[in-house]
Amino acid sequence: MLGLMFVTFVIGRVMPIDPVLAIVGEQATKATYDAAYEQLGLDKPIIVQFALYVWDVIHGDFGKSLLTARPVAEDIKRVFPATLELATIGVFAGIVLGVPLGVVAAVKRGSWIDQIARVVALVGYSMPIFWLGLMGLLIFYGILGWVGGPGRVGIFYVDIVPSVTGMILVDSILDRNWTVFKDALSHIVLPASLLGYYSLAYISRMTRSFMLEQLSAEYITTARVKGMSESAVIWRHAFKNIRVQLITVIALSYANLLEGSVLTEIIFSWPGIGSYITTALLSADMSAVMGGTVVVGLIFILLNIFSDLLYKVFDPRAK
């Protein structure tokens, strides 16, 4: 964790933009410049600066964003639920479709379902996500008009429901405002299925290979010889044994979705953390970039720890 913050800190420091100049402007006198310089703590040794930064972050202070003139922590709190909403729906779709697809592909190896699973995965691994998103927008929004366009809700519905969780689907349900709910749903369908497709590709592929490994084990043969029904063999024996590995894969793909959301959010003008970081980057908003990167990295680490913990719960051997 400390290392993660150190890397972001170094990145922030080597950025070829003078943070002081960005605050005081070109026309400032030397005295103003020096004052701002000191105020930012840039006159202290670099170790001290790093320690101060860590201290601030631990206390939830990521500094102030130059672009929005608000504390970065507040900004992140505002944009993060949007990403969370999108990624959660995406990974959920990936699990619901991907796990059964992977299992069936493994059981019926070489069948047409296996071929479909293979193509789905290959395309998922090879397709640029931003391009697929653009094509989706073009076809389903531009030509067919089935779904909402970019953004979270149509322009008439912005800020109508009170923000409780920040996730607009949940908020509109809490408010019982079904018009907004429907509109938000039509907007999230496309980006969420896009992310869902990518986690589907990954999850189904991994499920398939885990299942194949189990199905070739000797205890499966034993179970079959005992006369156990095929579905019991598959679900009660083989599937039970891949649960642990699956959890790790799902946690990983969830983390990947948070990352994949950077490009997706740009395409769909989705006001989440990915587009927040990118906009901040393009406008050289250093503390916002650092804050965003630290938060995403933190989630990454937390997800890893979480999957390790679940591992221990489900696999008695790991204790």
Binding site: T8, I11, F130, W131, V262, F300
Partner: protein
């Protein structure tokens, strides 16, 4: 034909007459089993085709990729003179795609050199030295692994400034840790084997052991991994280009071309579609090739 058959027989012999003979025979058998995998061959042919296009770009391209012609902008597919149409500045899309293949190959080639070599160095040194050197090097690797790759690459590009070279550097910086892990794992298993002890008894130093006896054994697993990662590298580079952080306009980089075409997507869909197809084809080819290579070079887990 007679010549051919004897060569085949010489290559397929069960009793090689020399070390080089044995090596060549093994390589030929590998090639035969690789050739039997038709999907992998498709991948290989696409990539050979890409390399040819990249080298012959000035000959093949019907137009200058940078020549603007505002009177002729946003021509649709299949126009006379412009088979794939023109973009918002009237530049020929086909020619830009052809020249873009050079940039793609350049990026992929550089990353595929920098990242595995860095990983190999770090991994073998950590694995061979052990102790605190191992601890420190692996902690650093873990830190880099803790970041989501694209976000880290974004942050690096922001720090270094946008441009192809910096994009290559940023992608390499995010790509090396898995190679270091693989190389370390291999080194750890090799290090304690008998033949390493034997060479050490003969008086070989650490440098010689690492370069002559450990590296050659790490290479094959690294190559497989690199080929499988190529698609990811292409997608990352295109993503950076798309965000405006990779290759800068007017360079005909495919990701940047998509980003340009994005503005007209609803009315002039082909401007963004064509470079996307190009990216997809190339990364698909790398995936197919990687799968095939894994089956040949890594017989232990050919079922994945």
């Amino acid at each position: 034909m007679v010549e051919d058959r004897t060569w085949r027989a010489w290559l397929l012999t069960d009793t090689p007459s020399s070390r080089r003979h044995a090596k060549l025979a093994a390589a030929y058998k590998g090639w035969l089993s690789f050739r039997a995998n038709s999907m992998a061959m498709v991948g290989l042919w696409i990539l050979i085709f890409l390399v040819l296009i990249a080298f012959a770009a000035p000959l093949l391209a019907p137009h200058d990729p940078f020549a603007q012609n505002l009177a002729n902008r946003l021509q649709p597919l299949g126009s006379i003179n412009h088979i794939l149409g023109t973009d918002s500045l009237g530049r020929d899309i086909l020619s830009r795609l052809i020249f873009g293949s050079q940039i793609t190959l350049y990026i992929v080639g550089l990353v595929a050199l920098i990242a595995p070599i860095t990983g190999l160095l770090v991994g073998t040194i950590a694995g061979y030295a052990g102790g605190w050197a191992d601890q420190i090097l692996m902690r650093i690797t873990d830190i880099f692994l803790a970041f989501p790759r694209l976000v880290l690459a974004l942050a690096f590009v922001a720090a270094l400034g946008a441009g192809i070279e910096n994009a290559v550097l940023a992608i390499s910086l995010t790509a090396w840790p898995p190679y270091a892990r693989i190389a370390r794992a291999e080194t750890l298993t090799i290090r304690s084997s008998d033949y390493i002890s034997a060479i050490r008894l003969q008086g070989a130093g650490a440098f010689r052991i690492i370069t002559k006896h450990i590296w050659p054994l790490c290479i094959s697993s690294l190559i497989v991994r690199v080929t499988l990662d190529m698609a990811g590298i292409i997608l990352a580079a295109a993503g950076l280009g798309f965000l405006g952080l990779g290759a800068q306009p007017p360079s005909p980089e495919w990701g940047a071309m998509i980003s340009e075409g994005r503005r007209f997507i609803l009315d002039h869909w082909w401007v963004a579609t064509m470079p996307g197809m190009a990216i997809f084809t190339v990364s698909l080819a790398f995936n197919l090739l990687g799968d095939g290579l894994r089956d040949v070079l890594d017989p232990k887990d050919n079922e994945k």
